[in-house]
């Protein structure tokens, strides 16, 4: 049996109202899904060739198969009215909370369609140091590698850098924060990364994107093989 929908369906959702004001002001963006003359695709930088991405991809898949249970997934705890991330972490009180309500309270996104494996920093074992060395222009760097299994997505959102703040404890200057992403495996059936109004597809392993703040984005794996990405969060060095 399925559960009734939690919120009246509407094609007119004001997603912008869920974004913290300091992000909207600090990193302005067009916020128009219909806009076609955008420059969202300019976030692409280049292809990083001097890394054995196939080896990293194989390592990540082997680790995920070893762990078996995805570390992360979102769900709405109806009883306690909490947005949950993984088995025990709550997003209540975080800047992401209002965005999360749109996906996990009002829509049927839950632990069954938002799973991913996350290997962060030292979890990356021998890969951590070489990945850290790729971007010497950043300080307080955190690195996360995501393995997204088929059938799962990370719904549309704007980054709020919560884990960066938790990890470093430093006061966040959004104008100096950077989030970089590299595709670890080649594009395959059903792999999507929706960066603003640009749908990234047909990518090659090593493709490097500078995901500047304030842009609505999401990703999904509606295919048949794992989708693997690696992300750097850090502050620009003067």
């Amino acid at each position: 049996m399925i559960e009734p929908i939690k919120c009246t369906l509407s094609s007119d959702v004001d997603v912008k109202s869920a974004i913290p004001d300091y992000i909207l002001k600090g990193t302005p963006w067009h916020w128009d899904a219909k806009k076609t003359d955008h420059k969202d695709e300019e976030a692409f930088q280049n292809n990083i060739k001097d890394v054995d991405w196939k080896a990293l991809s194989d390592w990540a898949i082997a680790k995920a198969n070893q762990v078996k249970t995805p570390h992360k997934y979102f769900w709405w705890d109806e009883e306690n009215e909490k947005v949950m991330h993984g088995p025990t972490d709550t997003m209540n009180g975080y800047p992401y909370y209002k965005q999360a309500l749109l996906s996990f309270k009002d829509n049927p996104m839950n632990q069954h369609n938002t799973q991913y494996f996350k290997f962060a920093n030292e979890d990356l074992e021998n890969w951590f140091e070489p990945m850290l060395a790729l971007f010497p222009n950043l300080k307080h760097v955190g690195i996360s590698l995501f393995v997204q299994p088929p059938g799962h997505c990370i719904p549309s959102h704007v980054d709020t850098y919560s884990s960066f703040k938790r990890r470093t404890g430093v006061e966040v200057d959004y104008t100096r924060l950077k989030r970089y992403m590299v595709f670890v495996s080649d594009w395959d059936w059903g792999h999507f990364f929706n960066w603003g109004n640009h749908c990234i597809n047909q990518w090659k392993a090593g493709d490097f994107w500078d995901l500047k703040g304030g842009v609505y984005h999401a990703s999904a794996n509606a295919g048949v093989t794992p989708k693997i990405t690696i992300h750097w969060s850090g502050e620009l060095i003067d």
Binding site: V15, P149, C153, S156, A222
Partner: protein, 211 residues
Amino acid sequence: MTNIFDYQNYYHDFLSQKGIDLNNCFKLPSVIKLSLNAQKLLNIFSKSENKQNKSYKARPFFPQENMFQAVCLSNLGYNDHNTFETNIGLDLNDNLELKSAVGVNNFRLMNLDMHSSLVRLLEYKPGTGIPLHTDSFTAFREKYRSDRQVKRYFVAVSGWDWGHFLQIHDKVITHWSVGDAYEIPEGVYHLSVNFGIVPKYTLTITGFVDE
């Protein structure tokens, strides 16, 4: 070698055996621009008492190849939550109402025989989609005991929004407008997904090509 229970590449191997390769470019037929009254269609959907809720899974009546695809997808992690769909159109009255709302002129634009066509209206809520599969029109042909050419169209009822995607072989389709009709030829692998924030409404129109 991974044991047979943990092995995850059955679908990929199956595609390879069939010679299905994303590196072979698919030539997408030109989009046909229909003039649709989306609100009228959504009203029919809203008041229908024959809504069918379903998810993508192996079903006893599937042809062998579709059955294999469905089993592979289930094994990969597709489930009731990420493939849930609500549709109308299989009921005769709903189908007639939908066809009437689409209108004679649009059937002419698609060059389809309106009388025998099947129109379904599909709703995919955020977090759901239909995974990689092919369509077979065998049942449709058998119903009418005809070997005439059959075409199927994906027609946008809601405008494109963030997280709405259609992939036909290697072509990823986005930014559609209401009324955009994309032909999905028989046997061509495709999928569609909504990982946005608003529901995605589309028609699938299947019919005999008017000769």
